[in-house]
Symmetry: D2
Subunit: 338 residues, 4 copies
């Protein structure tokens, strides 16, 4: 399968392209990159005859079986439109589009063209996500997810606000992880918010199936943190830390030394575990390329992130709404409800 | 100081009385216990001449300098009234009273009698709580607290509902811990709730000072869990697990190997740490007895838990309110706010 | 049971006496302490009519059922002799005597007088020790124990050398833990040793039953560390850290998610665990006092640490021997054996 | 750079080849594999025109700039000889040769031909190894390394014994890690050994520079474990677990909350860390290919593992020697030394 890549930044270089290289039959046909230095890097590393700075030309020249882009959100939107117009399967890093409106347009186009699409939602495929789904199956009651990071603290990716930059760069992952686990969202309430460059908020998500989640997120933490605790109604408690550790413990189960209390089962990958399975990058690329090959919609299609975008919008509007109102409407009403 | 104890159940036997024994000058003058077997146990263990089954008689006989009770909430209320009427300092295990109304009555009485009171809020004095307060000082933005346990799943302590049993047995601790840290509560919203014997809820707390907290709690977990993550606006992240581990990490700090990223500082007590400092029981009893000696109000007075009770009532009424309403008022209004 | 205590230093105050107070029927009849300030402290804390500075007088006055001493090793020896001469059961903190010769004398005397003795070997009773014995039962192949601490770095307790101070203050615990687990020692070889005030050595212990252990110990580590990994011949691996965590994993066992690999079972005490069970102090005092009551030899009798002393002597003589020999005899011979 | 690969088993497929693909300018010119199914797999995955089953033919056809082999030890020896005879740089997975004699021959040949060689000693390049070297620099006193695994339990790779299979498959890594850290070995003593298919031994290593190490290893543990504790003479203690966590703590350092005791600094890679840096595979391939390009000896040359082989032989002979001697010579001499 001939692949054309657009963008040779760190994410493409370290995760997306290496994962594609691990998949059988993949040919890195061309890499398009506007920056001359990076373009030369890409050419040398993959011994490509020719480097492109215009993706349109690359696509016209190479006729790739699929296009894979890791750029800015507005580029993603344009590239996706260009590819879908030509019925070329396209995968874009997150965020796939700068707004819900743009995303909806792409979803409609992809449906009309019956063309495979994909978005870089690697957390859905992380080793701990797969295990969580199996272990919580049908019994999940609630989940608390801590997603801390240290950026953005300024607007980037051509977004007008730090808040939207944060939502589309960070929250998109944790929210999508929750929606992938629990399904469509019924209600959403934001606590905390942003102040100057500091974002610190808890998003309470109630799902249509009755489950609820607390998404606790901030841009003030030195490292990337992605930890969760899931509570099952049958007395199973599943926790995870850093996509690396998992713990499971059950009411009434008999553990080592014939004891029931204070024991749990823990999982961790091998010290020698390398590659991209654990972080979900391998699974995400494998799913997209398999979908291209089988001519079907991928599990990470543009359509599959519509609900995530809808919720990101809700968060943004709740926070933005609160920013100008001394006492938020929601809260004073809450008080009456009490 | 002559102490009269009421109730010789596990909490008195394993935590309250041993902590008092560690304090200089304390005399275990008498132990009152209705159960004949336990009464004999108490007499033998402390080589007491006489065992009491009626606390009134014990108090009249021994004229203790303070009374310490670990019974049921309605007993606590009665005992406290009896002691306060006689201006005898009194400490009761949590919950100090079966309802806010009862508690208010005791607070008024204690004020009128200018008598020292105390409640068993040991988490305020836990080793990790003390460190959290020092480390987050003035900069706390939000805190997420996971408080999981496996009981109650049925009404107990003469309460009419499992929910109130759970709130007064478990949530009282975690909520009080948050209020002790952040001060008076401005708003409170409950997500999830109870269904049959399963309680699984997240309580979002907004404090008057603008900080917010997520209290994530359930009765479905095999073990007692008490873990938190605190986010500071200056880029400090403080986490803790099991009242045993603490982690602190700061944006921009230079750690070992001259690195800034992916390092943090961790604290754990000595393997040989024993006694009651870590869990806060020692601190709680020391504070009460010091207050008695100095004739002052204790930091764990009945009045000091009034805000906690007010919030427990709010949680109860929100959950109870939702139980009969298909779509909760708060939520539909939230939607409008969006 | 009337107990007379000798020495009111931190170990007596924080661990030994509190553990005794928790045991039914124990009376703290008297505390002897040479230091006037500490003696007053002890008197006040336990409301004792009279404070003793001479243990002989205290014993003659009070006729205690047992004597419990936490002083210096040469005091322990003298006190034990005094008590055993009078057939009074006696417990001493470790080390029970300043040398093997002194210990042997005490063992002989105790046998002749058929009097109960005890030594403060709390690690034998730690929560993880008990579980290790149950889990490794009959299948232990080897154990690696890391025992790090930060003192002594100078001679203390009237010992002539830092090395013996270290061996009798620290190594006595870890070596006794291993001997309690594996039985009599066949061979012992020391690697590393002492240089100036730094002690850093690995003691290889081969037991009569064929098991072997590596005891890795140093006085250069900021904290007290007591971690182990035990390997069983049936494919069970048991690890422990800080007397607080335990991990067990077995070849071929099916864990959560129907997986065999990379899972293990973990144990940790409750966050609220307090008191002295976990560290073994409670078990040690309970065993001694039970033995006194039942008129039998205790499991922590003077005789029970004879093997430990013999091995401490071997370590000392190997290290001391090497200190003056450029190329240690053992090693050059080892080379020939190869 | 044109690379010819020999062997397309899991190690080549999952680690060696992907790491090479990540390096700039690398061309996977050909893959030789005897097994027809795997050969087809390799051809498809890398879209190679032609699959080779004879490495001689591949090398003659393609004239690769370097050859990279991941086969059996006797294959490695033959391939290396073939390549070195033709002055073609060659990298082989460990073990590079079935015996020290074979390895010496290759070292001599490589020197004579002035040709770059490499061996797959990835642990030298692991993220924790690099940090350990920086942190312990010049102050290391001793290190304890636990290296547990679950195979081999039978002879493999054409070796005659399980012991040598284990030494050349597993111990080679941990021993090489220690020698890379501490330099040439002065003395070596083995405790424990093999019995039926169970190997459980502790190898005490004394280095020429006076440092010592305990290598604790067994084939009875369900998972791969690679944990260490390093003690520095200046009061720094460095620990690591699973090539994933690192802890550093220092005597006298002031940590968070202005405390000196019970704190340490911890390192862990990002949850999203993927690729081969952490496990050292990336560093190993980068070093070899850089050495090829620069026409110099690599840091992982055949010569660089000579000391490791010498020590593996010593271990084998000590264990084998003991197998027939009821009471090992070394031990009885040790006793006299005492």
């Amino acid at each position: 399968m001939k692949l054309g890549f657009i963008g040779f930044g760190p994410q493409a270089k370290e995760n997306i392209i290496p994962c594609c290289q691990l998949i059988s039959g993949v040919e890195i046909a061309g890499i398009c990159e506007k920056d001359a230095h990076r373009r030369r890097q890409a050419q040398e590393r993959f011994r490509l005859d020719c480097g492109y700075s215009d993706y349109r030309q690359m696509i016209d020249d190479l006729h790739p079986d699929a296009v894979i882009a890791a750029c800015y959100p507005d580029d993603h939107y344009e590239i996706a439109r260009f590819c879908l117009d030509r019925s070329i399967p396209v995968f874009v890093e997150k965020p796939p589009a700068p707004s819900s409106r743009h995303l909806e347009e792409l979803i409609t186009l992809a449906r009309r063209k019956r063309t495979t699409t994909g978005v870089g939602m690697n957390f859905r495929f992380a080793a701990v996500s797969t295990r969580l789904k199996a272990l919580a199956s049908g019994q999940l009651s609630s989940i608390s997810l801590r997603h801390y990071c240290n950026k953005p603290t300024d607007p980037f990716w051509n977004y007008a606000s730090t808040l939207r930059s944060f939502l589309h760069a960070q929250t998109i992952h944790s929210l999508d992880f929750l929606i992938d686990l629990c399904g469509p969202v019924d209600e959403l309430a934001v606590f905390g918010g942003d102040e100057a460059s500091v974002i610190d908020m808890t998003v309470m998500v109630t799902f249509a199936n009755g489950q609820h989640a607390s998404l606790i997120t901030a841009n003030t933490s030195p490292h990337f943190v992605f930890d969760f605790d899931a509570v099952c109604s049958d007395g199973r408690h599943i926790s995870s830390s850093a996509l690396w550790h998992m713990g499971v413990t059950e009411v009434g189960k008999v553990y080592a030394n014939e004891e029931e209390k204070r024991w749990s089962e823990h999982w961790a990958p091998s010290p020698l575990d390398s590659g991209y399975q654990r972080s979900g990058y391998a699974g995400q690329m494998a799913e997209f390329l398999a979908a291209v090959e089988e001519g079907r919609e991928s599990r990470i299609s543009f359509a599959s992130v519509a609900e995530t975008y809808r919720c990101l919008d809700q968060i943004e509007s709740q926070v933005a709404g609160r920013r100008y109102i001394p006492k938020p409407a929601m809260h004073s009403l809450t008080r009456e409800a009490v």
